[in-house]
């Protein structure tokens, strides 16, 4: 993202905002991952402790989800770069100067 339109002061606040957002996003991801893997792996309530089968399922669920997220992240970055490139070309084709 391009924050060149922001003043120094704003950029500082923006960085603080981003830092707080990253923490929030991480906690959201964590809660989400717990919920998803619990949903998929735990279905036996005849006991109070996790079975070894459930435990194996959990490990795979977490590992796969992390790898999935990383791969989505890579492709997301590429697609996003492509999109911004297209938008710039469109603006130039229309003869308009890019926004300051």
């Amino acid at each position: 993202m391009d924050f060149s339109g922001l003043s120094d002061n704003d950029r500082g606040r923006m960085n603080a905002y981003i830092e707080q957002k990253q923490m929030k996003d991480f906690l959201r991801l964590y809660a989400n991952l717990v919920d998803r893997c619990f949903e998929n792996c735990v279905n036996d309530f005849t006991s109070k402790a996790l079975s070894s089968k459930e435990d194996t399922c959990l490990t795979r669920c977490v590992d796969k989800f992390i790898k999935h997220s990383e791969r989505v992240g890579l492709r997301f970055g590429e697609q996003n770069a492509l999109l911004q490139q297209q938008q710039q070309q469109q603006q130039q084709a229309m003869g308009g100067a890019p926004p300051q």
Binding site: M1, S7, R60, K64, R71, V72, G73, R75, F76, Q79
Partner: protein, 90 residues
Amino acid sequence: MNFGGYQQQQQMQSGLNMSMAEQELEMVTTLFNNIVDSCHRKCIPPKYHDNELNKGESVCIDRCVAKYFEVNMKVGQKLTAQANQGQAMM
């Protein structure tokens, strides 16, 4: 007071820029999270046989992300077209 007015104006302007930058960041994050969820549902079967992504899953993810971006753009264009026709939406 003039000076105060100027300062306030600057603050409002600054608040506006901040809120736009925050909104853009919010949009990108929401898009990313929705793609992660949606492509996980579409590409990763809930029976976990191992802890690696296999070839089929990996290819599926790549195409899923590309398609989601395409859908995102098309829906945006349709909404813009609707809005320009003056059809109100809540």
